[in-house]
Assembly symmetry: C2
Homo-oligomer: 427 residues x 2
């Protein structure tokens, strides 16, 4: 069931794995106490990278797709987690409206929606799929590869509610990251629960807020594990708003790049790592799938017009953030692979490997052309087996991945509290 | 993975299965609302009987053993449920003390304890096994068949706490039904959580209170399903305190038996069931494992000296309760089998078949000599597959078993509220 992992189960990451396993009850208790104070995101997915010497999350998605990639044996866990999530937010819930994004021509996305609907149906909800796309004016039916039917209906709006014809939901679940902005139809829904909240969408979300929160939390977990936080946290540098048509801003960016590469080199020397550091340049806003630029040197900055949100013809203008590049040492049949961990509420409910035959180990695998190996997190995979040597046992490795994914998810919870326009100040 | 079920997947029970499946979201919502008002038992196990025309729980155990019978693939679910259970009762919990019962010479029981400890360890607790048996004066080590070690230490008592040497738990988990009475060492532990509470033990528990609660709840679920509650509820009759050395009490018992058999016959006629009704006579107190007497006729009453708690030489004295007998139509390789469903908190975490080669389908299979088929509830088994015909698909059948088991568990919750000496009056 577990694909063959070529290098993942060896290397200095073993020491980290041993510490994580040894500290399991303390880690679980720490999370438990955190969840007394903080609300986990309704659902989330975290991309993890294991470079052999460090293990870090590189992206947190508040609107995960790819639900059909979870191993079928993980379904009971997903259903149970969905029950827990619903119970907390709206125990009297009866009808749930799921809002899809723009990928209706992607059968893989549709299969994922279908799986997500099955999960919430089995958790005890009537669930229907609604469209906020103005182009969808009437009910559409899609037949999936497995023969199941998916029905999509255009949403209707009353003063304070979003509905389908003959279906009045108490809760609306967004599977749409709203990266093009928040449509008016989703605003002022004061009578319904809207999950995740609008400030989790890429219309409002800022990457640096997440990195800040993760930075703080990784230090706390590192202290508990008695390790250098760098082993679980990529260095980063927030450049703020830049207009790369201005020389001063280009110089500022070059300064950020230099300083960050410098910091990474220092760490590499400390750990005797004989690799060339690199940096990933990301727009501070917008989904990872848009692709990012990898820099090894300030010379590479000339390619900056390639970064997202930039018009290929004109220089980039907007907020930028730099992140320490983490190579992925995971391979499936010699192809670069990156684990993705799915969570509902505070529980890991499965995961899969994202695999990309054309990309190198220092590139983002979420680019078009990637495919998925769903069975990676086999049943029991996120349960550790104590007493086995580190690196020898996939479940122990996956337990560690689950811990790091939950840490990033907890950072997502801090981030959402911090950015909540209605929120109290938690400081 | 699922053993061959000879008669279980056919017969009039199919209509019930269809209704349960059709009502799944409503059922799950109903449970969800109940759990807002009521606290589920910390853990429990329910024996289910499927007679082909009705499906009923016949016993609820607040101190379940046999944890090693759960399918290994269900472990993540058990761990997640244990997390939820702990979180609710004592989120800051660090150390958990598990108290075993008298079955230390039973390797099957020891394997179950070990499995239970693994579940709570993975849920984030340091767990140790303590003994309240005064005969155990020093630490003992047991090597299990799988090579794992089990260490049992005698408990120590301070004024308000139960401890082991160098281990101070905040929560004590009883796996001991205290059917011989409550030892002083467990009283007045006001600084620690004692789970399940003492009034769940057979020292204080009374069967009729459970049947009353189940009677009420089965009516409510039956209304939701639009079925006759009898299809999921055995008729019963509580005889109260009887001294069978007195003729008047023997006559009273005979009256109860006659009246109950009469009621069952009437139901059998209503459903055109061509079987001979029978009654199970149970002491109102004490675990099922002690064995009960099966009656087809008042003539069988002469065997009443065989019922539990009675000295074989002297007539029975104590509270008696009569329950409609439910034949089990389940067979594994031609041998009578009875499903058992395990729960932690409000979640089904697995189950198994109890099998007894020497017993008939109208006898209690919990008698000595029974063995277990652990893989019956295979992964995903308690998740229904909608759209399949009733009776054709084991998972759908198991989902229905899970619903009935949870209904009995909810009755257990009502029962414990009702019998709680510190409780408010919930009426």
């Amino acid at each position: 069931m577990v694909p063959h992992l070529v290098t993942a189960l060896s290397g200095p990451i073993d020491d980290l794995e041993q510490r994580v396993l040894d500290s399991m009850p303390a880690i679980e208790r720490w999370f438990r106490l955190e969840w007394m104070e903080h609300t986990p995101p309704f659902y989330s997915a975290v991309d993890i990278r294991n470079s052999g010497f460090k293990l870090s999350p590189v992206d947190l998605d508040f609107f995960p797709g790819a639900w059909s990639c979870l191993a079928p044996d993980m379904m009971p866990l997903a259903v149970q987690s969905a029950m827990a999530a619903i119970e907390k937010i709206c125990p009297e819930a009866r009808n749930l409206l799921l809002i899809h994004d723009h990928r209706l021509n992607n059968s893989f996305y549709l299969n994922g929606l279908d799986q997500l609907m099955r999960i919430f149906n089995m958790a005890g909800l009537n669930i229907k799929l609604g469209s906020i796309d103005p182009a969808i004016e009437k009910t559409q039916h899609f037949t999936l590869q497995n023969g199941r039917q998916l029905t999509i209906e255009p949403v209707q709006r009353t003063k304070h509610r979003l509905l389908l014809k003959d279906f009045d939901p108490c809760t609306i679940l967004l599977n749409h990251d709203l990266s093009q902005g928040i449509p008016g139809i989703l605003e002022d829904l004061h009578e319904q629960y809207l999950l995740p909240p609008l400030h989790a969408s890429w219309a409002l979300r800022r990457r640096n807020k997440h990195y800040e929160a993760y930075d703080e939390l990784s230090k706390r977990l590192a202290k508990l594990l008695n390790i250098d936080p760098w082993l679980i946290n990529p260095l980063y540098s927030f450049c703020g708003e830049l207009d790369l048509s201005k020389n001063a801003d280009c110089d500022a960016l070059e300064g950020h790049v230099d300083a960050l590469l410098q910091k990474i080199r220092r760490k590499y020397r400390e750990y005797s790592i004989d690799e060339k550091p690199f940096i990933v340049v990301k727009a501070n806003q917008g989904p990872e799938a848009r692709g990012f630029l990898t820099l090894r040197d300030t010379k590479d900055l000339k390619n900056l017009h390639l970064i997202p949100n930039s018009n290929q013809a004109t220089p980039f203008k907007g907020e930028l953030i730099l992140q320490e590049g983490i190579r992925t040492h995971e391979r499936i049949n010699d192809v670069v692979a990156e684990p993705v961990v799915h969570m509902i509420d505070r529980y890991v409910v499965g995961g899969y490997y994202r695999v990309h035959a054309q990309l190198r180990d220092d590139e983002g695998l979420a680019a078009p052309g990637s495919h998925f190996v769903p069975l990676a997190f086999a049943p029991q995979a996120h349960l550790p087996r104590l007493g086995e040597a580190p690196g020898e046992h996939s479940p122990n490795r996956f337990y560690m991945y689950g811990v790091i994914a939950r840490l990033a998810m907890l950072a997502g919870s801090y981030e959402l509290e911090d950015s909540d326009p209605q929120g109290e100040d938690f400081e």
